[in-house]
Subunit: 226 residues, 2 copies
């Protein structure tokens, strides 16, 4: 798979904004006050190999994290929606790249500070542990998808997951382009596109305008073995 040269965000209008959300708690702990920051579409939030100074919480918009091989093959490891935390690392450096999918606001927390507080307050450390376990479970579910599911199952499972995270109404706008979906599901954009068409042909969903979809929950679910 050949991939065009690395897409780097050009826009760098990183506009700090008022502390409206500054009171936003870190898992219900008032001592964590995040610094609000905004990123433009496709702007990099942190890069693979950089020192992991901060941890992030999405306030508005969406973020993707990915890993990339030297020849350009990319695996998107997660999409992060409002409320989600990302950027935790086991080591001192990031093992991922994080980029905004669209104009996105986040709260930034200092990793050192979080670790300092966790080292003293057991209930905070337990919350962080729990958070990591939740991510781990997601990663393991995704391994099953990547290792053993067909293209149709992957796309169907993905759409059901996004729907659930966006409110579960069955109608929503996908916050990411096909390339990101493909790289998340271990497929190519062509296969994702064809699978969308196929699902629409089978009456499992309807599309309007590329990004908007309306799922037929029952038929969709029937496509995903479990």
């Amino acid at each position: 798979m050949v991939r065009p040269p690395v897409r780097r965000a050009t826009a760098s209008l990183r506009t700090p904004f008022p502390t409206r959300d500054g009171a936003g708690l870190f898992s219900g702990c008032p001592e964590f006050v995040g610094t609000p920051l905004a990123y433009a579409r496709e702007e990099e939030i942190f890069g693979d190999g950089e020192e992991a100074e901060s941890v992030y919480r999405v306030v508005h918009g969406a973020v993707r994290t990915h890993k990339i091989l030297s020849d350009g093959r990319r695996q998107v490891t997660g999409f992060h929606l409002p409320g989600d935390l990302f950027g935790f690392e086991q080591a001192e450096t990031h093992r991922h790249t994080a980029e905004a999918l669209s104009g996105t606001r986040v709260l930034i927390f200092k990793r050192r500070q979080i670790e300092r507080i966790a080292a003293v307050r057991a209930e905070v450390a337990c919350q962080l542990w729990s958070l990591a376990k939740r991510s781990l479970r997601h990663a393991q579910d995704h391994m099953l998808l990547l290792g053993r599911r067909s293209a149709q199952e992957r796309v169907a499972a993905f759409l059901l997951d996004v729907d659930a995270r966006m409110g579960g109404t069955g109608t929503f706008d996908l916050p990411m382009p096909r390339r990101d979906i493909a790289d998340y599901l271990g497929l190519t954009i062509e296969t994702v596109s064809r699978t969308f068409s196929q699902l629409e042909g089978e009456g499992a969903l309807q599309r309007s305008g590329g990004r908007q979809v309306c799922l037929h929950h029952d038929r969709m679910h029937r496509l995903v073995e479990d």
Copy 2:
């Protein structure tokens, strides 16, 4: 992919043995005293959906954890060697099945007890957090492998990983059969077998007696893009 009926351990000689290793610490915390227990080859340690009462540490032998779809497709999510912990769950029930690869001894810890101690001692909770982050990193690396790597790269990366975990001498016996390797790498046993042969043909490894391999480190590494 059709799979033979679920392989259930028939042998159930779960023989508790003396407390020789009872002094084995839980990440250096003397208050955790595990109960030693032994499992026979292919014996189930815990099953998907069961209540997650315990957490385990491998003392001797090897364990695999996997997830399985209703039609039998299986994804092995990890192999656990002496010193490794497994069986932590985010929720109250296990989301995996764990089975002994060979005669295996483990130490069992009560999850409730660990949680009780973590809730009070921050440094313990931080260790557990760190452990979860390490597992998460492994899972994310594996996603990249499953989503984007070729069969040859998967097998080569796998062999290098096992070698490193078994001492890094380059010569070792694989503790698992081809089926488990295949289900770990998202391949079929035939493809794994063919890839072994291909790697041997290219001089990247030598086999003797099915399970024993001797890796040619340089050539092996060259096959794994990063």
